[in-house]
Assembly symmetry: C2
Homo-oligomer: 197 residues x 2
DNA sequence: CCTACCGATCGGTAGG
DNA sequence: CCTACCGATCGGTAGG
């Protein structure tokens, strides 16, 4: 009979994923070696292969679990059945809060998904597209008479630009919090910054 | 007497830089080998080392030349001495036009500068900061009564988010042109997207 | 003696 | 779950 999994299996696996995400974020997928990850986790390199088939699987799991989280946020906000503007505000706030607690995963998603093989990459990209579509709908609902339907996705991508670019400059330890940032983005996106008459 | 450089030296060097930028953009700094770059350029690997001391020098040159271009745009627009809003519009349009013709260099700047050694990285980061400062001033001029001075740089970073994130989704061959994109960003940043009463 | 450039191979390290 | 290794490929440089 097959031996059962150690009770620590899942937490050990999660710990490896966390350290791997940090190292991929900092050094890139090619720049971080399996030996580096093993050392960071305080385990041997062969033990890593007990939890993950190969290096790509580790990368895929980081990206896929992170997409689980982002899609769960989209679903949770949708369930509240809010009016267009509160719905939009809730999405932006929930995403910034998620980003605050997943900075390494966020970087990995942005910079390293291109190293996945075609099949794995396609799955991640499809799930990202689902998130973009949810935002495009939320944006369109704000402006129901928007004439150019072809601008729905670009408007969502512009919004994601404001939110996602934070990985290059916003730090949880800085003076501007992630919640402040959500408010500033909402102010700009909803009203712009031009001097009001 | 020292033999002079071949007349093709500068163009050969520029050709190498271009191919290296494409490969770094696609595969990352660690994923693109000197052998790959040599093959793409149609030269031998040792010849690469005639033009560039090492792989890092190649990366630095890509980033530094691109910063030359971006800082030149900032200076050119400043020389026109426009009013705040036309000045701001000119900056956004000029940057989007530069991005359109430098997609690989743009990606390299975003994703690979972290692989430079401390000194080279510091130079690039300092020049990037100069660009951010120029945008922060241009944004502040739009809204001279902005109460929170500490929002000047975040506002500029939010704008850069909209512009720079295009590297993930905007294609020169697509239906939305870079010039269209500049106009949409300006509309949002200046007026927001809320339904106007 | 210089610079320009080749075919071949170096020491070290990657993922496995 | 370890040490000990492998085939391959890395960035960089030797002699000529």
């Amino acid at each position: 009979m097959a031996r059962s999994r150690a009770p620590t299996f899942d937490s050990q696996r999660a710990d490896i994923l966390e350290h791997a995400a940090d190292l991929f974020a900092e050094h890139g997928f090619r720049g971080a070696s399996m030996a580096n990850i093993a050392t960071a986790c305080g385990v041997s390199k062969p033990l890593l292969y007990h939890y993950y088939r190969d290096k790509s699987q580790l990368l895929f799991d980081i990206a896929d679990h992170y997409m689980d989280r982002l899609l769960a946020i989209v679903a949770e906000v949708k369930e509240r059945a809010l009016e267009p503007e509160p719905h939009f505000r809730a999405l932006v706030h929930a995403f910034m809060e998620a980003y605050e607690h997943a900075q390494s995963r966020h970087r990995v998603l942005v910079q390293d998904v291109k190293f996945l093989d075609e099949e794995d990459r396609a799955r991640i990209v499809a799930r990202q597209r689902a998130v973009v579509d949810a935002f495009a709908e939320a944006v369109a609902a704000l402006r129901p008479r928007l004439r150019r339907r072809d601008l729905r996705v670009p408007l969502a991508m512009i919004l994601f630009g404001m939110l996602n670019w934070t990985f290059t400059w916003l730090r949880a330890s800085g003076p501007l919090t992630y919640a402040d940032m959500a408010d500033v983005v909402l102010e700009i996106f909803l009203d712009g910054v031009r001097v009001k008459s």
